[in-house]
């Protein structure tokens, strides 16, 4: 019997100025990271509303990662500082509701860190794969 290898679907919100460019660099340097990582470009990491994270899970994501400029390097001066607080709150709340901690992550990736981007995605995908499918924040209607 052949079992299809489980590959988690990852949604990565990447800020336009650093992390998206970092992903570009990873591509230009031919660095491998899983094809199941779907990147959504946002103007700034703080554009990501908690609802975006939840809706990604609803639509079938098994893990959600936010990438933005390093603290202090935000193109808009302070956007990622707000992101940091918001996501700290949100992730803590998801954990409180019993949703696996490893399904969510925030990582700061600069435009020069193509290698970090690829390594982060590989590591995150591996951790999420270990958890298996997202069952606790799933919407069955979207899985049919």
């Amino acid at each position: 019997m052949q079992v299809k290898e489980y590959k988690p679907l990852i949604v990565a919100f990447c800020c336009n100025w650093c992390s998206y460019a970092g992903a570009d660099l990873a591509g230009n340097n031919r660095l491998n990271y899983p094809a199941e990582v779907k990147i959504i470009r946002v103007p700034c990491s703080c554009r990501v509303n908690p609802m975006f994270v939840l809706r990604a899970f609803q639509r079938g994501a098994d893990g959600v990662i936010l990438c933005g400029c390093h603290p202090g390097d935000c193109h808009y001066t302070s956007g990622n500082y707000y992101t940091r607080r918001r996501m700290a709150m949100l992730f803590s709340m998801l954990d409180y509701l019993g949703i696996e901690r490893e399904r969510t992550r925030v990582e700061w990736v600069s435009a020069a860190e193509g290698a970090k981007f690829a390594a982060t995605m590989n590591d995150f995908a591996e951790k999420v794969a270990a958890l298996g499918e997202n069952k606790r924040l799933e919407d069955l209607r979207c899985k049919k």
Partner: protein, 329 residues
């Protein structure tokens, strides 16, 4: 149980109405039974004298009504505020949701409100009369005997862990001023945090699956004052009139709690009105507890104009991946 009597409030309302300080009185109107009190606007002395109520069932927080009433009503509004209500009052002022000039706030000291469900659990159904006091006297149609219940045993859940007897806003105070209380309100949150993720998931799955999406928690919440809620907006993509499945139940409550995080004063109205007895305050308190531990203690509504943790930052804040190590010990 209340130390301050109804007559003092009535006298105050009538005198302010008669000397022209205010034109409207926002107060509690007598109901059909002795416990079903409705928030109401009084404009007339005779009406106040006949129907104004102040007793252990006056849980309703009037602060949110001021948003609508200050726009609609002519003349100044007298509002009675219990200590916890004054925090909501300040928070709404911070958010510029009503005109302070149009309001005359009278603080009323409060000894805690009682929960009719808890009384019914002891006395049974068929209540014909309730007399408030240190010992609540309950009569039912099933017995001639008057059942006596210690008011302290049937306090509303939120009053059992009252955070403050101090009024943080008023023009005038009736009764004695109290103090901020070092309460045990985070104990329940800590208890949940100490559980395993599977246990927490099971707990919230059971609790939130009771939700009927009546929106009472949102509509009573003094922090929920959006003119059009995202969950009512067909263009938002998340509008839902009924939670179709457990995902939508969780989404609604997580997002609602998140949206009031830093603005929630922990007045407890959400849990009080929930027809399904979902402990919604445990979501809000989790956020408050986290903010206190990550970003320093903050009480929404303690003073007008304060900056809430989620609209603020420092360069040294905890990283989201470290919250599990740093915050929940």
């Amino acid at each position: 149980m209340q130390k301050i009597t109804r007559d003092v409030l009535v006298e105050k309302a009538v005198s302010l109405l008669e000397n022209g300080t205010v034109a409207n009185v926002l107060g509690w109107r007598k109901g059909e039974f002795d416990y079903d009190i409705t928030p109401a606007v009084f404009t007339d002395k005779a009406d106040i004298e006949a129907n104004f109520v102040w007793n252990d069932f006056c849980g309703a927080n009037f602060s949110k009504y001021l948003v609508q009433k200050t726009r609609k009503l002519e003349g100044k509004i007298l509002v009675f505020l219990k200590p916890c209500d004054t925090y909501s009052f300040n928070q709404l002022l911070t958010e510029h949701r009503f005109d302070r000039e149009k309001v005359y706030a009278v603080g009323v000291s409060c000894e805690g409100m009682v929960d009719i469900d808890k009384i019914k659990a002891i006395a049974g159904d068929g209540i014909s009369k309730i007399v408030c006091g240190e010992m609540i006297e309950v009569s039912t149609v099933y017995s001639d005997e008057v059942i006596k219940i210690d008011a302290k045993d049937v306090l509303e859940g939120r009053c059992e862990s009252c955070k403050s007897k101090k009024h943080v806003a008023y023009d005038e105070l009736l009764g004695e001023e109290g103090d901020v209380i070092d309460s045990n309100r985070f104990d329940e949150v800590a208890k949940l945090e100490a559980m395993t993720p599977d246990e927490r998931f099971a707990f919230w799955q059971e609790q939130l699956s009771k939700c009927i999406r009546c929106n009472a928690c949102r509509d009573i919440c003094p922090a929920c004052t959006c003119e059009n809620c995202v969950f009512n907006n067909p263009n938002s993509g998340v509008e839902n009139k009924a939670a179709a499945n457990s995902f939508e139940e969780k989404m609604f409550h997580i997002i609602r709690a998140f949206h009031v995080a830093g603005r929630c004063t922990d007045c407890g109205e959400c849990s009080r009105v929930c027809p399904q007895n979902i402990p919604l305050h445990l979501l809000n308190r989790k956020f408050i507890k986290d903010m206190d531990s990550f970003y320093g203690e903050y009480q929404a509504g303690a003073e007008v104009g304060s900056r809430a943790p989620l609209v603020n930052y420092t360069t040294e804040d905890v990283e989201p991946c470290d919250v599990f190590e740093g915050g929940n010990e």
